[in-house]
């Protein structure tokens, strides 16, 4: 019995073993993004974009009508460095994306026309680019 159970348990543990990922200092990248907000935008939030163990990172925020928001991206390489940020409304309709017709930008300037809860979603175009930071600012 022991001869059967032990290999099964070993295989189970091997299957569960985490894949070794490189470190992601997303906090530092998020902080470095704050001063890179365009002139006139007031800083609101910084976001860690640590996608090493997942295929997307998501936050939510209440955007308000009549306010312009900027979300920028920072990465170890030249931003956007394979990171795409998109905004979805509460019904999960895409209202903004940093990737338009295959061309990727390092920031979104979004003039909100409808107050509500929105989802800020970060996805990754390239497997190597799963680490970054981002900042959210506003102006009226």
């Amino acid at each position: 019995m022991k001869k059967i159970v032990l290999p099964i348990l070993c295989l189970a543990f091997l299957g569960m073993a985490p894949v070794p990922f490189q470190d992601c200092n997303s906090e530092s990248l998020a902080t470095s993004c704050i001063p890179k907000l365009a002139n006139g935008f007031n800083f609101l939030k910084s976001y860690k974009v640590d996608g090493l163990a997942k295929d997307k990172v998501e936050y939510s925020y209440v955007f308000t009508q009549g306010t312009q928001y900027m979300i920028n991206l920072c990465a170890n390489g030249n931003p956007p460095d394979g990171i795409v940020v998109a905004i979805f409304d509460k019904e999960r309709n895409k209202v903004a994306s940093s990737k338009i017709n295959g061309q990727a930008a390092a920031a979104i300037a979004y003039s909100c026309n409808a107050t509500g809860i929105y989802y800020i979603q970060y996805t990754f175009d390239e497997p190597s680019a799963h680490c970054g930071g981002s900042a959210l600012g506003f102006k009226r």
């Binding site: 159970v5 800083f43 609101l44 939510s60 019904e91 895409k94 300037a109 909100c112 026309n113 107050t115």
Partner: protein, 297 residues
């Protein structure tokens, strides 16, 4: 060996059966606050806390609407000695944070200095004073040309305080800080709207706060065993009854997007319609003022 194997097997079973956070359920609670179940889930609480807008956004709107600065609307820093419990300290830390943002936006830095001092005192008493760089803020506040830096550092300080409280499992204080800040912003907006009865934009700003109130009530549903928070929640529910008469409708229309100078510029073509009548504003203002009085007294 057998007992060792049993232990390993148990670990495997527990690992495999551990319930992961249900993201679908969480998103539903964001969209339908009334379906939330009680019991503190820090991950959910922190996610909701993160989505509440800064009161600074309202202060900017007030200034741009042409309303005049009025220090009488703010909570006097002389009230500081009244706040003896952590509950009152956290709430009024939020209140004073909003007041500081308001004075900053209107360039009334001398008034702002009083709030910096009050905020530092409350933060110290709540053991979070290390995140409030009073010297730098005071130096920036001395010159009105430093507005951008002043707003940046105060926002960063409050973000650090919130992250720290959440990391220390003191998120109830974060909820109170946020609620105090929001009620103060509501009170300032309502008073400004009362002085400018023809300003439709201010009325709509009050109306759209229905969305924020729903999220705050969702947060309070996690702390029903806390007597202070349960009392405040009952007051906030009174405000919700008034807000139930406000209708917000949303129409989605695909956005227009183009990349200009390396930035994705998005024109939102969706719309919200906020149906709020003057009598609704009056009722909301009255209840808000009552809650604010309880918080600051």
């Amino acid at each position: 060996m057998r007992s060792l194997l049993t232990l390993w097997a148990l670990v495997v079973l527990i690992s495999c059966s551990s319930k992961k956070p249900d993201s679908e359920a969480f998103l539903k609670t964001l969209e339908n606050p009334e379906t939330a179940t009680p019991g503190v889930d820090e991950e959910v609480v922190n996610a909701i806390l993160e989505q509440i807008p800064s009161p600074l956004e309202i202060s900017v709107l007030l200034k741009q609407s042409g309303s005049r600065y009025n220090s009488e609307m703010l909570n006097s820093s002389h009230n500081l000695p009244r706040y003896n419990s952590n509950y009152k300290k956290a709430l009024n830390l939020g209140v004073y944070g909003t007041d500081l943002g308001y004075t900053n936006i209107f360039g009334r830095n001398q008034d702002g200095l009083k709030y910096i001092s009050a905020i530092k005192s409350l933060a110290d008493e709540l053991n979070i004073g290390q995140f409030f760089d009073v010297q730098t803020i005071g130096r920036l506040a001395a010159n009105s040309k430093n507005l951008d830096s002043l707003l940046l550092i105060t926002t960063m300080n409050f973000n650090h305080i919130n992250h720290y409280l959440q990391s220390q499992s003191r998120d109830n204080l974060s909820v109170l800080l946020l609620t105090g800040g929001w009620i103060e912003a509501m009170q300032i907006t309502c008073q400004t709207a009362a002085r400018n009865p023809g300003n439709k934009q201010l009325q709509e700003k009050i109306g759209e706060q229905k969305i924020i109130l729903e999220q705050i009530l969702l947060l309070f549903s996690f702390y029903e065993t806390d007597a202070n928070m349960a009392t405040l929640k009952a007051d906030l529910n009174q405000l919700k009854l008034a807000y139930d008469k406000v209708e917000i409708s949303y129409t989605y229309k695909e956005s227009t997007m183009q990349i200009v100078d390396g930035v994705a510029v998005i024109k939102d073509n969706s719309t919200t319609n906020i149906n709020i009548k003057p009598e609704n504003v009056e009722e909301i203002s009255k209840i808000t003022n009552t809650i604010r009085e309880k918080i600051t007294s």
